[in-house]
């Protein structure tokens, strides 16, 4: 997902911890000024921070196509989408800031590799059909995770999710619309559509993270209601929803073992290559180095702008003070 393998910190067992857990169990929303266990706070910073980083790194693979969009309407839609993603990054950094960490600090942790972003954005976007596949599959997978998070225990995070989910479903519909046009287009367009599905299918399945049945971190996060479903549940739901859509498009899911299972009422499917996932998350994905280089360059090149704006604001504040 946009936050993958977030390490959860165990709670100690003081009376305050037990009271806190009782609030969560009652369905209370935790607000920034409320007491919270240190582990809850730090886990959320990692999770929300990683989610925010994913939004801003996620601008790059789509930004790659804004200047080559095939029509004015597609260009406008893609611009709106990439603008939304920057906005999502802003909401999420703001939510993280309520936990006592600054956006600049989180950004530095991304740029020096101490914090991660979603594995999916380390894959390249090579043809226009990839703009369809990213919307359809990547935003589709993100929605699976984010809709339940609207009910997460931490108020600012839940409220950010409500705004984000509205926009994500628009993105997913737009992505599917691009895939429809491509799948029903010329033979070259159909080839692009199939190629995009071939390249994005397994990376999309990886977005949910490896099976967490045995993970103590996941169990703790689920007790705190900052993780709402297991990775396997969400991945299965995604496959069950997406396979009929692929059939509708006349495209073939690149998994020879994909089959409907009458007994379980779900599709059986091949697990993605988890070695690849761990390598990508560690920074060895096809575009990992390029993505971070691009973000570092933007940050470094923009330093004089940020400093200039702050210097001017300070001058104005000083002048206003002197005039009083």
């Amino acid at each position: 997902m946009y936050a993958q393998l977030v390490k959860s910190e165990a709670s100690s067992e003081t009376q305050a911890d037990r009271d806190f857990q009782a609030r969560i169990d009652r369905g209370d929303t935790i607000e920034p000024k409320d007491w919270m266990p240190e582990g809850y706070r730090r886990t959320l910073i990692r999770q929300i921070g990683q989610h925010a980083h994913s939004e801003i790194v996620g601008q790059l693979p789509e930004g790659n196509w804004i200047t080559r969009a095939p029509t004015l309407e597609r260009k406008a839609i893609l611009l709106a989408k990439v603008q939304d993603e920057a906005g999502h990054g802003l909401y999420l950094y703001c939510a993280a800031e309520t936990l006592g960490v600054s956006r600049d600090d989180l950004t530095r942790q991304l740029l020096d590799g101490r914090m991660k972003y979603s594995s999916i954005f380390s894959y390249p976007t090579l043809t226009w059909a990839d703009m369809g596949a990213v919307g359809w599959l990547v935003d589709g997978a993100a929605i699976m995770n984010q809709v339940p998070l609207q009910r997460t225990s931490y108020g600012p995070y839940a409220r950010a999710m409500v705004r984000i989910c509205k926009e994500e479903s628009f993105h997913q519909r737009q992505g599917f619309d691009v895939m429809m046009k491509m799948a029903n287009g010329t033979s070259a367009q159909r080839r692009m559509a199939q190629d995009a599905l071939d390249r994005f299918w397994f990376p999309a399945l990886m977005m949910f993270g490896p099976s967490d049945a045995e993970s103590v971190h996941s169990a703790q996060s689920m007790r705190w209601r900052i993780k709402m479903n297991t990775n396997d549940e969400l991945r299965q739901k995604f496959v069950d929803q997406t396979v009929p859509q692929a059939e509708y498009l006349g495209l073939t899911v690149p998994d020879p073992d994909l089959a409907w299972n009458e007994e379980t009422g779900h599709y059986d499917f091949t697990e993605p290559d988890w070695d690849e996932f761990f390598a990508v998350l560690k920074g060895d994905g096809p575009c990992s180095a390029d993505r971070i280089d691009a973000k570092r360059k933007a940050w470094d090149d923009g330093a004089w702008v940020r400093e200039g704006l702050m210097a001017h604001a300070a001058k104005k504040a000083a002048a206003a003070l002197a005039a009083e």
């Binding site: 930004g63 611009l79 920057a86 702008v305 704006l309």
Partner: protein, 259 residues
């Protein structure tokens, strides 16, 4: 897919509409090149927002221009014309450069664009008036933002000041073209569609000169202003590569009828 053939000579109204739509298309495209690479997240949002407005305005201007030129639609005009058929002022095709160049380019254009649109809201052509009224609301925000950034960065640190002054030195010679006039403009004024561009200069100067003063920036002495974009006579070398990227997909897959 080959370039489309425009009527020759181009009717005055078609030429006027292309001048409006090409300016917003080229500037919108240039600004969209920033996506994901801005100095701060707020700037990423704002730049994308401005680019989006300009591309939306392009759809309206070029949609109308398509009817006046016999082109199939706005996309045919955007994606199937070569450099010489573009009618944008040279200023907006200048490369992004650093953030100083990008913002100063926007400011010099926005300060022209807003009074242009304000006056067009009273156009004898209802459709022109309608497009202008919608666009003017958006451009008022573009100008407020670009003006604020020019003042803040000009009057920021020594480095931000020097970068803004360097951008002004480079871009100022392209401002003169915004106020040129020719037979097309005379015909549009005669028909009550649009005032001739020299009429916009007082409003432009009233915005630009005080802002530059507040920004502690000084316009350079210019012996000869650059021109040739809005007539299509002589574009810069920068427009061709931009079109090569923008039009590549449409041109590479001419059989595709929908995207």
């Amino acid at each position: 897919m080959g370039a489309i053939a425009l009527p020759d000579p181009l009717p005055a109204k078609a030429e006027f509409l292309l001048r409006m739509g090409d300016a917003t298309l080229v500037l919108g495209h240039r600004i969209s090149e920033w996506c994901g690479h801005a100095p701060a997240l707020e700037e990423d949002v704002a730049l994308a927002n401005v680019a989006l407005d300009l591309i939306g305005q392009t759809q309206l201007w070029l949609g109308y221009a398509a009817e006046e030129t016999g082109a199939a639609d706005a996309d045919a005009l955007a994606f199937r014309r070569d450099v010489w058929d573009f009618r944008n002022p040279l200023l907006v095709e200048r490369p992004n450069g650093d953030f100083a160049h990008t913002i100063l380019r926007s400011f010099l254009f926005d300060a022209w664009h807003l009074p242009r649109l304000d006056r067009l809201t009273g156009s004898a052509d209802d459709r022109v008036a309608g497009i202008a009224a919608k666009a003017a609301k958006e451009v008022a925000y573009h100008l407020e933002r670009s003006r604020g950034l020019v003042v803040a960065l000009g009057d920021g640190t020594a480095e931000s000041h020097d970068r803004m002054q360097a951008a002004l030195d480079r871009l100022w010679p392209y401002a003169g073209e915004l106020f040129e006039t020719d037979a097309t403009d005379a015909a549009m004024a005669e028909a009550g569609v649009a005032d001739e561009p020299p009429a916009l200069r007082p409003a432009w100067e009233a915005t630009v000169l005080p802002a530059l003063a507040a920004a502690t920036l000084a316009p350079p002495e210019v012996v000869r202003f650059q021109a040739g974009g809005r007539t299509g006579r002589r574009h810069t070398e920068h427009l061709g590569p931009m079109l090569a990227q923008m039009q590549w997909l449409q041109r590479s897959y001419p059989d595709a009828s929908a995207w």
